[in-house]
Every structure is written in C-alpha cells, then in structure tokens.
Amino acid sequence: MASAIEIDRLAFAWQGDQLTLDIPQWTVEAGETVLLRGPSGSGKSTLLSLLAGINVAQQGTVQLLDQSLSDLSGRKRDKFRADHIGYIFQQFNLLPYLSALDNVLLATQFSPKRRQRVAASGHSAEHLAVEYLQRLGLTSTQLHQTAVHLSVGQQQRVAAARALLGAPELLIADEPTSALDSDRRDDFIKLLLELSEQNNTTVLFVTHDASLGQYFNRHVELSDINRASGGLAHA
C-alpha cells in the first residue's frame, strides 16, 4: 500500500458557486502523521467531507487506500468509511445515553472488518476498548458513566478511543482539540499519536492551530495545496 490518501485534480464547489476546493495533486503516504492547517472557512471541512465520502467531488478523484471513493455507491462508501476510517468529529458525536465503553464499542458493532481486526489481535473488543480508554486516562468508574455525564475532555478521549478501536488504516481528526486548554491538548495529541503508531494508522489531523505542528511528521497548509481562493460559503 503506497498511499493512504491520494487526491488528483480535485475540484469541488457548493451548488455551482465558485470553487471551494481546487487541489491538483496531494498525497499522504501510509503510516504518515500529517497536520493539515487552515483558517476557518478555508475549505477544511469540505475537504474532510470528501475524504470521508460524505460528499463526492464534481471533478477529479479522491483515492483512499487505493480505492476511488467516487466509484462506490453511497451505501458502500458508508461501509468503507466504517471499516477503514476512524473519524474524530469536532463535536465528538457520542450517543449521550450510552456509557463511555458502549460508545467505543459502537465502532465494531457496525463494522465487520473492524471486528475481524479486533479478533485478530487475540483480545475481545471490550478488552481493547477498556485498555484504550484507560490509557487515555479514564478511570474505571468513568468507563461506565453515560456520555452526558463526562467532561468535554473525557468525551474527546472516548471519541478518540472509538475512532481507534479495530485499527482502521486511516484516522481523521477534525479539530478535536478546540475545546481543550493547551496542556491537556498536547497530552491528548501525544497519546493519540502513540496509539495510532501502535496500530500502524495513518493520521490526518485538521486544525486551525499551527502550534501543534511539532508532533507530526508533516505540516501542510491548506492554502499551499488548494488553488481556490474563495470557499467561504461552507467552511
């Protein structure tokens, strides 16, 4: 597997407006950890929605793990995402009524591929989930607390553990640290990268905060790869 992400002559516009994204060529190699930085409204979220297969590019191709997303049907893209991409959302997207542990286990519940990888590790999904959560700093009582009762920092750890469970090839994190103070943010990123490395997971970390660059293999400014100037409509 040569590259985790490969973008070729990508063009995307929201509803026929001016182009939000115009990326001639961009590649992330497998195993890389990349920080993608751009100010609000620079098209970060749009790019992520294309990478996650939520939207489809009007022109050009987006290949993840050598699979062109535009070749897949909507349902297959859903499956592909669940199987291969760990996604940490800006709002974490936890189910408030499930416990921290159950939220993490959701990752394997809908993805047979992730279940297989968990099984291949020789541990149960629950065992791994507990391990991740504990390494990310949740106490055993917090494991069984419902998500609504967790602090923002704890919710973020749960979201990270969920994204990592079942060792997806690619981890995409969308501004997961925006709600944290700088000390805890740095701790979190270190842990996240450590766990990713263990799983051999490629990491694409998207943020507006340039100070995090030191932790990653590569620091990319979106404005360097994106030729479109506008794109303020849908940040």
Binding site: Q91, L95, F110
Partner: protein
C-alpha cells in the same frame, strides 16, 4: 441492536412512558370491552337454567320469553288454568310452576306464583334462589322481594307493600285495601329475579277478587288439597321434564295441539335468538374499542415522529460510526415494536388489576360476575393485532428517518 433500542428508549423515558400508557390503556379497554360483552352474554344466557320449557299463550317465542323471564312487555293473552293443569299432568312433566304477571309495586314487576317457583327456578349454572333474610312466603298476603326490588323500594322484612294494577311506575288503581307483608328477601342473582316481587298466586287472586268473573267457574277442580284452583288464567308456566331430550317433542306437541292455542319455547334456544337481535349493541362495543386502539396507536405515531427531530443527531452519530440507513430503519421499527409489546403486556396487567380490584363493586352494582380467567385465544389475537398495527405504524417514522439520514448524510446539526 435490541440493546441499543432499549437504551435509546430509556433515554427518552417520559415520552416512551406516555406512549406505553396510552397504548396500554387502549389495549386494556379493548380486552375489557370484549370481556364485558362475553360476560353480559353469559349472564344473559344464565337468566334461566334448569327450565326445559316455558309455556304460555300463543305468541312469538321472544315475546313470551321477554315477558315471562325478563318481565319486559306484556302478553296479550293468558293461558287458562285448565290448560295448565293438563300440562302439569302430562307424563313427561316432572314439575311445573305457574306464573302470573301484570301487576307491579312502584314499577317493580310482581310475579305471582307458587312456592314451587323457589324450588324449581334455577339460574346460571343450576343455581337455586337463596334467601338473604326472612323466609319463603307460606300463605297469601305475603311477599318475597328480589335484592334490587328490596333495595330500590326501601323495604325490609316485616314491612308492608301495596300492589298496583298494571306495570307502569304510577298506577291509578292501587289495591290499597290489601297490604302485603314482606317475609323474605332474596340474595342477588344478577338476573331479572332481582327486580321482582314474588307473591302467591292466590294473593293476586284475592286482590283482584270481585273484579274478575272467575267466581262462575267453581266447578273447576285441580290437584290442590282443597280442590280450589287459585286462579283461572295465568301468564305462563315454567316446566321441567323428566328427560330433557323430550323438550323438542313436547314443544312441538304443545305448539300444534288442537286445544287452547299455546306457545312452548326452550329457554336456551330463545335466549340465543334474542341475543342475536342485540348484535348492534355488540358491534357498537367492538367499534368503540377499535377506535380506542387506533387513537392509542396514533398517539405512538405522533410521539415517534416528533422524537425524530430531537433524534436527528443520534441518527447522524449512528451513521457516522457505520450504521447504514437500513440499520436506522430497523432500529426505529425495533423500538416501536418493543414499545407496543411492553404496552400490550401492561394493558393486560392493567386489565387484571382492574378486574381484581373492581369485580366486587361491579357485581354489587350490576350483578355481572367477572370470573378471573386466562386470556382467551381471541384475546391473544387482539393483542397480536395491536402489536402488528404498532409495527406497521412504525414504518412511517422509520421510513422518514431513512430518507432523512440519506439526505442529511453525516451533517450533524447541534
């Protein structure tokens, strides 16, 4: 999936609980209506038992039954005492009891009969009449009251009553010269017996004495020891046969006999005939319970649809972790079916609780006895119908969620 549905429901306790209550109440009502119907029918069929034939003047079966057993309506003709005597001496007849109707006490029908009535009249499952207090009448000018009659008229043993001619509530010809002593009050039966005032045939004759022309018939003889017949015409006779199998032949014989035109009916058969005429009542009850269930289910539909909006985030999260639109569809349907199953079970429980706690009062008020019983096959079908209806209804919000999640994709609206 089931676990997820349960936890999601638990997260929305209040609305889920309200839905369950709404459906449970309608299920309880649906089943209760059915039981009331069955019990009314059973009680109806129980009004008379052990009597093989009722014989009266020529009239319609239903008319004769209504008059002789339910004391509703009147018979245009009467049956002569001579015919009654002939009947009672028939070889097939084991016992016979004459009854004479047409008078009342403040609207309560007076049944003039013999003491034999209390021995032979049976209701429900061959149950005999029993006294609550006092004794049977032993001579003329004495009366035994049904439970309701005693209660409504406010009489107790030892009081006196005045019989009025005619069956209306207000009569202009009261037999005020003939006060009658109340000697006994019957236990409640849940049949028209409760409404009646029982006196001896001769009492009535004494009251009516001089008004009728019977004095000219002294030459008639009967089996009474004094060879005096108590009256010359009666309204009907209850007949018990030596062998029940003979009822059909006897009925035909009487109906086709050459003498006085008479009608004989078999109570069970005619009761059924009568019940059939009450179909409308049955259908109305069914209609009402169906409407109640529909309202309960519509309530569930409303709540499910309303909850979709607040759950759009939940749906998006599930989609984000890999649940396809089909999974969300299944989730919502599972949830609704779960709700209806729980609600249906609660409805059944509610019914039993109500039945246990209220059966005493109901029996006292209406005489209807609601026996505790396992749900009948029909009950199970009804409950299954509710669950299936719940499932079908849940397809609406589930389909909407499916469409919505396809359209919204992973866009999470906070």
């Amino acid at each position: 999936m089931l676990k997820l549905a349960i936890k999601s429901l638990a997260n929305r306790k209040t609305s889920a609980l309200l839905t369950v209550i709404a459906i449970a109440v309608s299920v309880a009502l649906l089943l209760a209506v059915e039981r009331v119907k069955e019990q009314v029918q059973a009680n109806f069929a129980n009004t008379v038992s052990g009597t093989d034939l009722i014989v009266g003047p020529r009239s319609g079966d239903v008319q004769l039954l209504l008059a002789s057993v339910f004391h509703i309506g009147a018979l245009n003709n009467s049956m002569s005492w001579r015919s009654y005597e002939e009947l009672s001496q028939n070889r097939q007849v084991k016992w016979s009891v004459p009854i004479s109707l047409g008078d009342s006490v403040s609207g309560m029908p007076v049944v003039a009969t013999t003491v034999g009535y209390f021995q032979h009249f049976k209701y429900a499952n061959q149950q005999s009449l029993q006294l609550l207090e006092g004794d049977w009448f032993k001579r003329t000018e004495q009366a035994v009251l049904g439970a309701d009659a005693a209660e409504k008229l406010g009489y107790a043993v030892g009081d006196q009553l005045i019989i009025a001619h005619g069956t209306g509530g207000i009569s202009f010809s009261e037999h005020s010269g003939h006060p009658i002593d109340i000697v006994g009050i019957l236990k409640r039966t849940g049949t028209p017996v409760d409404q009646s005032v029982y006196v001896d045939l001769e009492t009535l004759e004494g009251i009516h004495g001089g008004e009728s022309e019977h004095e000219a018939h002294d030459e008639h003889h009967d089996e009474h020891a004094d060879h005096h017949h108590p009256t010359d015409a009666i309204s009907a006779a209850l007949v018990g046969l030596k062998s029940r199998q003979m009822a059909l032949f006897m009925q035909r014989d009487i109906n086709t006999a050459a003498g006085e035109p008479l009608t004989a009916l078999m109570p069970g058969q005619t009761l059924q005939q009568l019940w059939k005429t009450l179909r409308v009542f049955e259908q109305a009850l069914n209609g009402i319970s169906a409407i109640v269930v529909v309202i309960g289910l519509l309530g569930m539909l409303t709540i499910l649809l309303a909850s979709l909006r607040e759950r759009s985030r939940e749906m998006a999260v599930l989609r984000a972790v890999g649940a396809g639109p089909g999974t969300l569809f299944t989730l919502l349907v599972t949830e609704a079916v779960l709700l209806t199953i729980v609600a249906t079970a609660s409805g059944l429980t509610l019914l039993y609780i109500l039945q246990i706690s209220l059966s005493g009062i109901i029996q006292q008020q209406t005489g209807l006895l609601f026996a505790l019983q396992w749900p009948t096959v029909a009950d199970w079908w009804r409950m299954l119908f509710v669950v299936i209806a719940g499932f079908l209804m849940s397809l609406v919000p589930a389909w909407r969620a499916y469409r919505q999640s396809l359209a919204d994709g992973l866009t999470v609206k906070v």
